[in-house]
């Protein structure tokens, strides 16, 4: 489904150039659940950002469903809009908006009845229906992450990207969130999770270890 070919991301720093991702090639199958693991600074998040189109690779190409993606800002943002749902460690919710408005953020017409119904359905599925009128600062970490996942799902993306989704949560809540991802995956959604937690990674069908920007190990 998604193929990365010889992806490299190089940053220029005061002390010279630095390769955060170095010639990485990998294939993500449709409906798979993949964990990208590695130490802090290993390049796993950069790789995830490249997949999401937030970061432009220095070289290499991305093929999605057999089609090579353009690397322009426009092509990447179109790809992200149509196919990607993104969840991050600190939830990236807008504090001044209610849970409802946060979930509605990706929608083009958030005030329509259809949108409201969609938000209700997802929030019920994720167990946050009664929190829709609340602001993120009044919610727990687990609730915030559920809102973030609901937001990532609202446009029904093909791929869910999660960057350390349990990093800010206690173990009980982490387990609940992972159950959510597994449930999504069991319904055919492709999930890619970046984590440094081996327990979290072990719950995924496939583990790819990143070290110094390169793939250092794969586990099926």
């Amino acid at each position: 489904m998604l193929e990365l070919k010889n992806i490299t991301k190089e940053y220029n720093t005061d002390s010279g150039s630095f390769k955060a991702v170095d010639n990485v090639s990998l294939t993500i199958e449709k409906g798979s659940m993949t964990a990208l693991i590695g130490k802090s600074g290993s390049g796993k998040s950069t790789l995830l950002n490249i997949i999401s189109g937030l970061t432009k690779p220095t070289s290499g190409e991305i093929v999605f469903c057999g089609k090579k993606l353009g690397l322009s800002q426009r092509a990447m943002s179109d790809f992200r809009y149509e196919h990607i749902g993104f969840v991050v460690q600190n939830f990236a919710l807008v504090n001044q908006k209610t849970a409802f408005d946060n979930i509605a953020l990706p929608l083009k017409n958030s005030r329509s009845k259809k949108s409201a119904k969609k938000i209700e359905e997802i929030s019920k599925r994720l167990g946050i229906y009664d929190k829709l009128s609340q602001y993120p600062y009044n919610m727990s970490g687990g609730e915030c992450q559920r809102v973030a996942i609901a937001r990532a799902l609202i446009n029904e993306p093909d791929i869910i990207l999660a960057d350390e989704p349990t990093g800010a949560l206690d173990s009980k809540t982490s387990a609940e969130i992972m159950d959510l991802f597994k449930a999504l995956n069991s319904h055919g959604r492709t999930v890619i999770i970046v984590t440094h937690d081996k327990d979290i990674a072990s719950q995924c069908g496939r583990i790819i270890e990143i070290s110094d920007g390169r793939i250092s190990g794969r586990e099926q």
Binding site: T46, S52, Q73, R74, Y81, N90, Q96, K97, P106, N155
Partner: protein, 427 residues
């Protein structure tokens, strides 16, 4: 577009007061900019026109002093009339100066005046020009008797109809051609007959409209600019015709209170006029030359330059100030909201949509500010003599669009320099 407007409105709603203050400032700056441009254009246009028409020339008024004992004694003398006509002939034939007959101290009462409320008012003090005599209502119309050369000499142009031809100057008082000022166009038509007061001092029986002057036509009479918009011009009879018995005293006086146009200084002109008087046999002192407006013109030009300069400085300062203020505020807005924009990015917002949101506030500020300031200036212009020129409005629109363009480009470049992935990780 829906999402851009929705999110931009939400952002603006978070800082209503600040945005309102910024809007008032930008709007004020634009209003002053348009106003100063209007004033500047108005002054410059007048000054250019004035300069073009008056450059290198001095204007002197020839006046008489026939009220005193010497004057009375001269007027009683047998050859007075002939001497005056000889003097006039010397002036008209002179190679040292150009002499224009512009007798402007008269008015003629008109029966059944067709003018409107505005033209029925006195030009100088705004009072009514109407008077009743023998149960007939007359309207006094300011009248100027002009020689044929006035049209070329003062660049007086016609809006419709034609300037007087030679036949118009050879009249017998039965029907006299007249040219009306711009404000009478619409009230009268070319060929209309106008009935003057039977007791007019020039014994004119009937006037026929020959044409209308262009708006804001004027004559520099030596000490002031005479706008002719509400004047009636009547040909001053040829000297040969006047010399015959038909000439009234008024006719002669008008002919000898004309305007001298020359490049020479006043002292030289005085000497020349004295020489003509001597040659015509007129005693010294009965006619004299009044000083020129040329010095005033120079002062006037200097003032215009200063006013323009001052307005230009104010405008430039205000625009630069607004440019930097809006730019700074927008960059601060980007810096404060980078994580929010990163969040929007992961929510599927396209880059172009985020650029649109960043530029939304400056675009709204400048667009609304521009529209309101044009309206304010248009309303102001309606109640004043100033005119809001389309050219000025479009020119400022182009300038402000350029300023807005620079603000937007700089802000987009600032945003592009941000690493959204890094911002996303910030708490």
């Amino acid at each position: 577009m829906n999402r851009i407007i929705r999110e931009s409105k939400w952002i603006l709603g978070r800082s209503k007061l600040f945005t309102l203050l910024l809007f008032i400032l930008v709007n004020s700056a634009l209003t002053v900019t348009i106003f100063s441009r209007v004033v500047s254009s108005e002054i410059s246009a007048d000054a250019d026109d004035y300069k073009k028409r008056n450059e290198d020339n001095c204007y002197y008024r020839l006046l008489d002093d026939l009220e005193g004992e010497d004057g009375n004694s001269f007027e009683r003398s047998a050859q007075c009339k002939n001497k005056q006509f000889r003097f006039l002939a010397e002036l008209q034939d002179s190679k040292d100066l150009e002499y224009y007959i512009c007798g402007d101290n008269s008015s003629v009462g008109i029966v059944d005046f067709k003018g409107n409320e505005k033209t029925k008012r006195n030009y100088e003090n705004g009072g009514s020009s109407e008077y009743v005599f023998d149960n007939i209502t007359y309207t006094e119309v300011k009248t100027m008797f002009v020689s044929k050369n006035v049209s070329d000499g003062f660049d007086v142009k016609m809006s419709s109809g034609e300037w007087f031809d030679s036949n118009d100057y050879d009249y017998n008082n039965e029907t006299v051609s007249c040219i009306l000022g711009n404000e009478y166009e619409g009230s009268y038509k070319i060929g209309d007959l106008i009935k003057p007061d039977d007791n007019n001092e020039f014994n004119i029986k009937q006037l026929r409209v020959r044409g209308f002057l262009k708006e804001d036509s004027y004559i520099n009479n030596g000490t002031q600019i005479k706008l002719l918009n509400r004047y009636m011009l009547i040909p001053s009879r040829d000297i040969a015709v006047s010399q015959q018995s038909r000439a009234s005293n008024a006719d002669r006086y008008i002919k000898l209170t004309g305007i001298i146009k020359t490049e020479r200084p006043v002292n030289e002109i005085n000497d020349i006029v004295k020489q003509y008087m001597k040659s015509a046999g007129i005693p010294d002192g009965l006619y004299y030359v009044e000083s020129s407006t040329n010095n005033n013109l120079k002062m006037f030009n200097m003032d215009i330059a200063r006013i323009n300069e001052l307005l230009g400085i104010i405008t430039v300062f205000l625009n630069i100030f607004c440019f930097f203020l809006v730019l700074t505020v927008t960059i601060l807005f980007i810096n404060r909201n980078t994580k929010y924009f990163a969040t929007l990015s992961i929510c599927g917002f396209r880059r172009s949509e985020i650029y649109g949101m960043i530029c939304f506030t400056p675009i709204v500020l400048y667009s609304l500010g521009y529209i309101i300031s044009v309206i304010v200036n248009a309303v102001y212009a309606m109640f004043t003599e100033l005119s809001l020129r389309i050219r000025d409005v479009l020119l400022i629109l182009a300038e402000e669009a350029a300023v807005l363009g620079v603000v937007c480009i700089v802000c987009v470049l600032v945003f592009r320099s941000k690493d959204l992935a890094v911002s996303l990780r910030r708490r």
